[in-house]
Structures are given as C-alpha cells and as structure tokens.
Point group: C2
Chain length 287, copies 2
C-alpha cells in the first residue's frame, strides 16, 4: 500500500487505529477452544467486528510461533482472511527482525513475497545492511514498508535508546551529541524516504514526539503503548501528528481482550469504535 492510499484510508474512515492481533490461546474465550483452529476463529471474529473502525492490523509473530506449525497456519489464515475480505487494511508483521544481509533478505522474502504484507517491524542494532534487504530486493515498487524501532514503549527503552552518543570519528556535523534513538532516525533517513520507512515510537514517550517530528516531519510513526502500557492518545496526537495524520496508533489488549465471554467480539467492536471516535476528533483538529 502506498503512503497516499494509507492517508486516503485514514481520512475516509476517520481512524488511524491499528488492531494488534497478539492472540494468546490462554486469554481467548473458553467456548472457542473447541473450534478446529481457536486462534483463527478468535481473529476472524475480532477482524469482522473491528474492520470498520481501524485502518491496520498488526499480528505479532511471537504469539503464532509459540504454537509451532499450528500457530503459523493460524497466522497464514488470518492474513489471507484480511487480504481477501478487507483489502484496504494495512497489514504489519510485528516481527522485530534484523540480521546480516542474506538473512534479512530471507525475512523480507517471507513477509513481502510469501505473505505480501504491507510492512514489517525491524530492529536497527545491526545497522544499514541488516535493514536494506527489506527495502531493495526487487521491492522498489514502494508498496512494502520497513517500520524501524526507534524509541520503544517499554521500560527497557531507557537502557540503550536514550544513551547520549557521538559518532566514532569525532569530527564533522555527526559529532553532535544526541540520544541513540535520534541517531537511528537520522541515519536511517539515508536508507529510504517517507514513502517506505516508518518508525516505532512508544506512546509512553510523551513529549519526545515533539523532538522526533523535527527530525522526521513526514514519516508515519507506528505508536504502540496506548492503554495497557499507559500512553495517552491525546498527548501523542498533540506532539506527533502532522498534516497527513502521520500516525498509526496500535491497541492490542484493550480491544481484543475487552471481554472474555461469548460477547468478546461485540466488546471489541465497541472498544474499537470508541477509539475511532476519539481519533475522529483528533483528525478534525487538522482541518
């Protein structure tokens, strides 16, 4: 999906909500456990209930891989179901991959060629040649995206991402001292533009969005951490929105586990609708 198409969907649906499909078999309603594929049955119901109110889905690979072959089958069925029934949804593989070139190329092949997903989350630690294969392997069509981790929503984001850094050479404009995550933002701007690169910025980072928008004014930001992790939608929008919206805000647990009875899908619908309405208000401020 191109950036223009994504923006069009956001304004048409008055939503920049992403529903995170972190489907844990231990948390889904008990009546689903008798289904042949309980994870897919759960996802299908959640997708049908929430699709009018969101523009993206983000299955989290960890939750599928934990069930081996069965989990991967549930993952595949889930993404095919979205692609066939809701082709305007942007699908993100939340995988946090990143490895030496030939290995990243294999991951790119999985998520883009095999599954034809829109985006994959990538960890920056191994640098340029670990990220480029997601951008270049015959993928100059600008419809596949890298979503690079920059400043994440968890407590551990303080361990390394906020370290003050200087470059190794110690001369030239790069000698400026800046936190590691800023350097990730700046450096990665050399690898792709805002038509193919987004960044993960945790909702819990509050005012950091203001500084981030100065570095990456046009890139979309994928924002986890609203809800269970404590981030505020209003604050994220105040500091992080740009004229194109520029945000995809994810919510997983507050939506998909809104209720754990037979009423779960209706509860997920209500919760996603409620979030969409808050988002519509935020989008209205752009007009």
């Amino acid at each position: 999906m191109t950036k223009e198409e994504l923006i069009r969907n956001i304004f048409a649906k008055k939503s920049f909500l992403c529903v995170g499909l972190d489907t844990d078999i231990k948390k889904i309603p008990e009546h689903l456990l008798k289904e042949e594929d309980p994870i897919f049955a759960f996802n299908k119901a959640i997708i049908d209930a929430t699709a009018p109110y969101c523009v993206a889905y983000k299955p989290n690979l960890a939750f599928y891989e934990a069930f081996g072959v069965k989990g991967i089958m549930a993952f595949e069925k889930t993404i095919r179901y979205i692609q066939q029934n809701y082709p305007d949804q942007f699908i993100i593989a939340d995988a946090k991959r990143g490895d030496i070139g030939n290995t990243s190329a294999m991951y790119a092949r999985t998520f883009f060629d095999e599954y034809n997903l829109d985006a994959v989350t990538v960890a920056p630690y191994m640098g340029e040649d670990s990220v480029r294969p997601f951008l270049t392997e015959g993928r100059e069509d600008k419809t596949h995206w890298v979503i690079l981790l920059a400043l994440t929503s968890n407590k551990g984001s303080h361990d390394f991402q906020l370290l003050r850094t200087r470059d190794t050479e110690g001369q030239g404009p790069d000698t400026e001292v800046m936190p590691l995550y800023e350097r990730v933002l700046r450096k990665s701007q050399e690898w792709a533009d805002d038509s193919r690169m987004m960044y993960v910025i945790g909702a819990t980072q509050g005012k950091a969005f203001e500084a981030i928008r100065k570095i990456v004014p046009k890139n979309f930001l994928l924002v986890p951490g609203i809800g269970a992790q404590g981030g505020s939608l209003e604050e994220v929008c105040r500091y992080g929105m740009n004229k194109d919206c520029g945000l995809i805000v994810n919510n997983s647990r507050a939506i998909i586990y809104a209720d754990n009875t037979a009423n779960f899908a209706a509860a997920a619908r209500e919760k996603s609708k409620e979030m969409q309405q808050q988002m519509a208000c935020e989008l209205a401020k752009l007009a």
Copy 2:
C-alpha cells in the same frame, strides 16, 4: 545444557565448531528437490556428516520461515533429529528476537518450552525487559541460554554498535565514554551471569576481542563471520579464547555448501573435519 557440560564436550571432541544450518532451497543439490522435504533431507545428511566434528548446530530461523508452514515443519524435524540422535549437541535458534516483556515471553516459550533448545540469539536494542523473559520465566534451571548481540560481523555493525556513548544521567562511574556494544556487555552483566548469557561477537572484529575479554572474561562468545565473511580463526582464538575455551565458532556456508553435487555431505564432512583439526591445535595451546 550447562556451561560445564558444554566445556566437557568441547575438550572431549577437541572442537568448538558450530555448524550453521542456513539451508536455502535454491542452493541445495538438485537431486534432493525430489525428496518429500528437501530441506530436512539436506539437513539430516549434513548433520550425520558433521556431528563428530562439531559441538553445536545453529539453525537460522529466517531460512525456515521463508517457506511458511513447510519451512517450520522442516525446522521442527531438524531439531528433533539432532535431539534424538546427537543429544550432546548444543542447539542455538538463531532468531535475533527481542520485544516488550509479554512478547519476549512468548518467544521464550517457543524456543525453550516448545522446542527445548539450548539457546536463542536476542537483540539488545529494547533493553532489559526485552531480554529478561528469556532468562527468568521458570527457567532458573540454568540450562537455557541467551546469546545477546554485542558486536556483530557485518558492515552495519559500524552504524550504531561502535557509537561512543555516555549514559543519560551524566554522573557516576557510568559517565565513562564507551562504544555502544561495550555498554551492552556491561549492562547485561547485571541481568545474568556466564552460566546463562553468551554474546555474539563477529569474527571480523579482530582485536576488539582483547577489549571484550576484559569486560566479559568468563562468558562464552558465539563467533560468526569466519569464512564467507572474512574473519580469521587464528586471530579470534589469539584474542578471544579463555581457559575454558570460551568460544563457539560458527561456520555456515563454507561447510553446508562446500559442494553442490550428490557428494555434498562428504564435502561437508571434510570441511568440518578440517576446521575441527585447526580448532584442536588452538585448544592444545591452552594446555
């Protein structure tokens, strides 16, 4: 596997070789393509040929995931085959995972509970709470390991891992300036000791091993980058070995693709035997 068991295996077999199972269906001998599961057929032959000369296997998840359900089945068959036939082999899932706590916990469940592997490679960018679930979730038995990325073998290791860092507070002993990878080494020493934590240090990093050994004198290092990527075994041993050996040196392509005819397994045997003999010489220097 405990550290003591690993050391015992290394000295018994006079080898610290890890065979990387980066099995690419495009590179395996053509006659295997008619097998029901060509990837597993290839791995099985490689494992039978190399097991006498190595102490570890490292399947690279990217290469299995690229084939969806079929790939995961080949991965599962491969690790079961090693576990059943060569129970003294240390098995590393080369996955480079790392995510917020509940997600890392799911990955830990996959690799440790579901597959009962010895170790998984983990990326440090998201900090402590992204790594701890691999160490703590009922896994105080000290037989499961985290192998944390520190200084990798690829060119992109220069982009962030070598950045000079100061901590965010700017006071106390932590204000010392050091490269990011050193900070990863130092910080992570607080999370687990050398009975459960290893580090990835690329063979291409040469003399950096000397500085690294001052920070982590006792930890095992997983060393990729010998061969195709240009690292030297002798140099790695000179600067990186400790009295327990302290090294697991990986080779993937030079062994598994030593020959692409029907003779591939015999060629892999020869190549792994040759490496084992070089390693025996290096180990002899410790005596």
